[in-house]
């Protein structure tokens, strides 16, 4: 994988050469086999047992985690000396994507692989890695991650759990953690507590330590087959050697774990969307009304086409992000700090993958219920269960609201540190758009998705215009302007998604690969509708920040920059829908 752009957020300011972008079509034979193994495992051993998991059969969950360990599914990111396979991030993405359709079990898996194994890999001492990783990777130990408390969810650093140092160097922890995935049967828990009520710190806590107990299972809306409980710590003694990372640096452990966790959650959303498109397409093909399969109706085709295109976009941007992280880590093995740094570098992209992925998935699952009609509302079909199971995705691993603050927030922070040339670019753009005529950007006329290429360049300008205006208007206080930050985040998400989709479609067209026409249709549809959303968000943001002549000037500039001619999206959606129905699902690679 050759990639020259290895700076997070650089795509906003520079043109990415198409060849540098990783796409699902570039998967190796090994990657495809990993997908197959994961699919077979889920189909043969997990899906037939979902009902037992929903009845809280945690011995079964434990057995399945052990089976996942046998197959190597828990060790993709773990160095070989601790029992892992140390594979690239694309491999982790694939495993996450294909485990996703088991919903409840995917959450159990995520609690183990993303939230317990990963922080130990990234921040553990040699001794901690030797002690805990082999068991966790083999699935003999079950892991969990205890950050939230009843009073601190998004505001995680406000945790009340306390850690007090004892004369012998050990620690005593007291407090109550909430909504802990795998809480009911975890053996090893990453617990965040404040040393002396002040210094936020991560600890590795074993369930067998005295004073550790799990509370009652929560009564949840969905993912009933995963365990979610409070974890109580009553004067729990934790050995001196079980501090994870540095004292007072617990936020680094928490945030870096979430950076990668978010990216993997995005990957899981791809798998969930694909599954639902398959179900919806098959249902629409066999369900007859007015003497016709409902798949033949335009209103249903609209839904299937839109589900297809949006899934295409999140798939494209998530694979691209995996490629970026892999490129940053290319060449040999790395210590935890280097890997954590790479995740941090692409934290903006990871947040985009999380927000876009979870929202596309919820859209797809909602339309899946709708296509199933009355059957979508009853428990005889999976549509209802998927709909409930997925809702939590927008809440955990950082709510989508928090992630929306982070997306522009992290870019601004990097700009202020001089790591990203955002400010000069915004200044240049301001001079350009306020000039009487906008110089037209020269593009190579390759005749492939050229309109979309122009549109995406315009999205970037709009993003800079809005972000530049926001920085000018609010300065240091920008972090308080959550609505403007959200609008900006939406523009950035659509920009990264559109560009990733268009580049991937151009790859497909140039290589003349299978289904190139579907790639093209999905990318064109997505970019066209993204333009409408970008315009709407930009107008709302600009009107919130400026008024009078300034606003009029900015809106005029916006009109000139964002000149996108609408395409016939009805025809594009129909083409995608018909392909999905003919193939029984979202099948591109």
């Amino acid at each position: 994988m050759e990639t020259t752009l290895t700076k997070g957020g650089a795509w906003l300011l520079e043109d990415t050469p198409d060849a540098d972008v990783f796409t699902p079509e570039k998967l190796s034979d090994e990657h495809r086999l990993m997908a197959q193994t994961t699919d077979e495992f889920i189909a043969n051993e997990v899906l037939p047992n979902l009902d037992r998991l929903e009845e809280k059969d945690w011995e079964l969950a434990r057995t399945l985690i052990r089976r996942a360990g046998d197959l190597g599914l828990l060790g993709t990111n773990v160095p070989e000396e601790y029992g892992g396979l140390d594979l690239d991030k694309v491999s982790s993405l694939i495993v996450a994507e294909h485990i996703a359709r088991s919903a409840s079990f995917a959450v159990t898996y995520g609690g183990q692989a993303n939230l317990c194994i990963l922080p130990i890999v990234l921040f553990g001492t040699e001794e901690q890695k030797r002690q805990y990783l082999p068991g966790l990777v083999a699935g003999e130990l079950v892991g969990a991650y205890a950050l939230s408390e009843s009073g601190s969810g998004s505001d995680a650093l406000a945790a009340k759990t306390r850690a007090t140092k004892q004369a012998d160097g050990s620690w005593v922890l007291s407090g109550e953690k909430m909504w802990i995935t795998n809480g009911g049967f975890a053996d090893v828990i990453i617990v965040f507590a404040k040393v002396d009520g002040e210094h936020f710190t991560a600890f590795i806590v074993e369930k067998r330590f005295p004073g550790v107990s799990a509370g009652k299972e929560e009564h949840k809306m969905g993912i009933h087959g995963s365990s979610t409980t409070p974890i109580l710590l009553q004067d729990t003694t934790v050995p001196a050697g079980n501090v994870l990372g540095e004292i007072g640096k617990g936020h680094k452990v928490a945030l870096n774990t979430l950076n990668f966790g978010r990216f993997k959650l995005g990957a899981m959303c791809i798998g969930g969307s694909r599954q639902a498109i398959g179900d919806a397409a098959k249902y629409a093909a066999q369900r007859k009304q007015f003497g016709e399969p409902i798949a033949s109706f335009g209103a249903i085709k609209h839904k299937l086409g839109e589900m297809f295109a949006r899934t295409y976009a999140i798939e494209s941007l998530t694979y691209r992000t995996a490629g970026l992280i892999d490129a940053a880590l290319a060449g040999g093995t790395h210590d935890g700090a280097t890997v954590a740094h790479a995740f941090e570098e692409f934290a903006v992209e990871a947040s985009i993958a999380k927000v876009a992925g979870t929202e596309v998935l919820d859209y797809v699952l909602d339309e899946n219920v709708q296509i199933h009609g009355g059957n979508g509302f009853v428990r005889d079909y999976m549509a209802e269960r998927y709909y409930r199971d997925a809702r939590v995705n927008r809440i955990f691993e950082g709510t989508n609201e928090i992630n929306r603050m982070l997306i522009p927030g992290m870019l601004v922070r990097r700009a202020l540190k001089g790591e990203l040339g955002l400010i000069p670019a915004a200044k240049r753009l301001q001079d350009d758009v306020l000039a009487p005529s906008v110089p037209s950007t020269a593009f190579g006329d390759e005749g492939m998705l050229e309109d979309e290429r122009r549109a995406i360049a315009a999205f970037k300008k709009v993003a800079l215009m809005v972000l530049g205006t926001a920085m000018q208007t609010y300065g240091q206080k920008l972090t308080d302007e959550q609505e403007v930050l959200s609008y900006t985040a939406d523009i950035l998400i659509d920009t990264f998604a559109s560009e990733s989709a268009a580049i991937r479609a151009r790859h497909a067209l140039q290589s003349g690969g299978a289904h190139a026409d579907l790639h093209e249709a999905a990318a064109r549809l997505f970019v066209n509708d993204a333009a409408l959303r970008v315009e709407q968000s930009a107008k709302s943001a600009l009107a919130a920040m400026t008024d009078g002549d300034t606003l009029r000037t900015l809106l005029a500039a916006l009109r000139r920059v964002l000149k996108v001619t609408p395409v016939n999206t009805v025809a594009l959606r129909r083409r995608l829908a018909e392909a999905a129905v003919a193939r029984g699902g979202y099948i591109l690679n």
Partner: protein
């Protein structure tokens, strides 16, 4: 024991067949492929025999470059090395050509045991294994449900085996035969293992020996036309009293529909 397993790459079962314009083969452009199912069971049987008796498992396939996919999969599941007779013309080869191609690449290896699936999911002739046995000059037995190697057989030494064949109507047959031999394996006789992620990565380093198609292999049969099965629905009303109608229904179900 030196065991060969012959595998074929076939369209996935979920794929909706589409015919080429000349109606003599399928449209390959939009097909996704997988390992022929009975061959996967043959591979699993070979891996189990190796675990019990030692030796090596060599996977053999004849087909265009794309069949590497299933060769890699077989290596990832645990085969030791592979032989690939590569030629574009093998994409839709008949059993005679496939067996000839495999035989030429396998002859020098002197395998103790050769396993194939009993038939392919695409053409379904069930002939490749049988013809291959003839070309290798070894005895064969078909539709095998169980394989027992004589315990006195060790690596590098000819021995014998007992095999259980599936006959019709729920009957089975046990046969004793000498080694070397070829067996065509029935689906479902064992539990397939997964390719572990470790196995997948290890497979990258395993040898795939390429062999070319021997000259002069001519197809012995030709597909003249392919057609999609016509769907038809016929309603047959059975008259008479309830007792008579029931008798007639049972007779029809048994003798005509063969559903009983």
């Amino acid at each position: 024991m030196k065991i060969a397993v012959c595998i074929k790459q076939v369209p996935t079962r979920e794929w909706q067949p589409r015919l080429r314009d000349d109606k003599t083969w399928i449209r390959e452009a939009d097909v996704s492929y997988e390992m022929n199912e009975p061959d996967a069971y043959a591979l699993e049987e070979a891996l189990r025999l190796r675990e019990k008796h030692g030796g090596e498992v060599v996977v053999c396939s004849a087909g265009p470059a794309r069949v590497q996919q299933v060769i890699r999969e077989a290596l990832a599941r645990g085969a030791d090395r592979a032989i690939h007779v590569e030629d574009d013309s093998l994409a839709a080869a008949d059993a005679f050509v496939s067996a000839g191609a495999l035989a030429s690449a396998m002859a020098d290896e002197t395998f103790d045991l050769v396993l194939t699936g009993l038939q392919s999911d695409d053409q379904g002739h069930g002939q490749t294994g049988v013809v291959l046995a003839e070309r290798l000059g070894i005895p064969h037995s078909t539709i095998i449900m169980e394989v027992q190697i004589d315990p006195s057989t060790s690596s590098g030494q000819a021995g014998s085996l007992r095999v259980k064949r599936e006959l019709e109507g729920g009957w089975f047959q046990w046969i004793a035969m000498p080694l070397p031999a070829l067996l065509t394996i029935q689906s479902g006789i064992n539990q397939l293992r997964y390719a572990t992620l470790k196995g997948i990565m290890a497979a990258k380093k395993k040898e795939i020996r390429k062999a070319s198609l021997p000259a002069g292999l001519q197809p012995s049969q030709q597909i003249v036309a392919l057609a999609m099965p016509a769907r038809s629905k016929q309603t047959h009303l059975i008259g008479g009293s309830a007792g008579e109608a029931a008798k007639e229904l049972v007779r029809l179900l048994r003798d005509e529909a063969r559903a009983l």
